[in-house]
């Protein structure tokens, strides 16, 4: 029996990995939570426009302490700023952007993603849980490309990449790419396809962790 050694991507490394694939000029929506980190890692020289569901295009970084304006917040309700060129609009216009296919990329967190790109990220399905969906379903099916950013395994070691989601769905066949702490994969109608791996991990080992075939 051989032991392989590999290092999981840290949260910042993962954010940087996602950021690397965001092209110059892209209009991007970064979901609440971990995806927000991606903004800190956009490569210099790329001009990327961030959209926020609550009616902002051209969102900038958090303001300095004391400069917070609670009329200028992101979807996670944290104070942000507006870049030159930014604009404000109402909720129906904002979701028209999202649902009408105008965003180039959205990056979301997930509980589970199926090999063919089904997404579960809004509800654990537990009986006593109070559900909340926000804009997740609109983003998932609306953007030109939906990317998921997550740890590959749960704390219990179960794969969050699955044959079929057991949690309630957010959208069907909507995820194009999964960026995880161990690997980057594509979801296709034929199943998972490998994009890259952390050093020291092989495709075969990844297949074992995930329990699903992963095309090279």
């Amino acid at each position: 029996m051989t032991m392989t050694t590999y290092q999981r991507r840290t949260k910042d490394q993962l954010a940087a990995r996602v950021a690397q694939d965001i092209f110059d000029g892209a209009v991007v929506n970064l979901g609440i939570g971990q995806p927000t980190l991606v903004a800190n890692h956009l490569p210099k020289g790329r001009e990327v426009i961030l959209q926020s569901e609550n009616g902002i295009l051209g969102m900038g970084p958090a303001p300095e302490a004391g400069q917070e304006d609670y009329d200028l917040i992101n979807a996670g309700k944290q104070p942000v700023t507006l870049l030159p060129g930014g604009s404000f609009f109402h909720h129906a216009d904002s979701f028209a952007m999202m649902r009408g296919g105008h965003l180039d990329i959205c990056v979301l967190g997930a509980f589970q993603v199926s090999a063919t790109g089904d997404l579960a990220n809004w509800h654990t399905g537990e009986k006593d849980a109070i559900p909340a969906v926000g804009g997740a379903m609109d983003l998932a099916i609306g953007a030109k490309q939906t990317w998921v950013m997550m740890d590959l395994l749960t704390k219990q070691g179960a794969s969050k990449l699955v044959k079929e989601c057991s949690y309630p769905l957010t959208g069907i066949a909507c995820v194009k790419r999964v960026y995880s702490d161990l690997a980057t994969l594509e979801c296709t109608p034929e199943g998972l396809k490998l994009v890259d791996l952390v050093e020291g991990l092989s495709r075969e080992e990844l297949e074992k962790l995930v329990g699903l075939p992963i095309a090279a």
Partner: protein, 233 residues
Amino acid sequence: MINKIARSVADALAGIPDGATVLIGGFGTAGIPGELIDGLVEQGARDLTVVNNNAGNGETGLAALLKAGRVRKIICSFPRQADSQVFDGLYRSGKIELELVPQGNLAERIRAAGAGIGAFFCPTGYGTQLAGNRETREIDGKQYVLEYPIHGDVALIKAERGDRWGNLVYRKAARNFGPVMAMAAKKTIATVHDIAELGTLDPETVVTPGIFVHQVVRIERVATQAGGFKKAA
């Protein structure tokens, strides 16, 4: 003469009946018509259906309205939050009905009501629990769910400036649901921080034309260093 400026919150809210559907603007800390919600608690209407993005935070505002037992049903996209304990308690004890709606459907259904649309086929939520047993249809190879408009009896919204015709402009992301809710209600009541003399709002920059607004009430401004609004304590 047209004069939509109300003398007080209480005057503006007079006549909201029991059983009314009340659209309430706001997203996070921005655009919540706090004074109007407090006024609605005072005003006393009960058995309300409330449409808002959330289901109340902390113990004030919408949470206070819920706590007072005045809301029969809430239509929202994101009820569960760190400080949504009032809603959580009512929901778990079966004292409030919840219609959970994806946020984009919420906005578009409200707009549809304002625009006279009878129903629309929408891609969001297809194949999910939230599509429930709604009618679905494939159009040009894509799957859609049929969604119906959300009409309000009253809309309570927060704007920045308004005039006696009811024209409104908003401030930054406090705009959010205001413009679509204004279109969708029989009676729209807006708070503003400034009453503008008629003709001083630039006609190119009016966001909500006065036709959609029935009462405008001035409220005090609580400015932060950045010129924005303090987060409720």
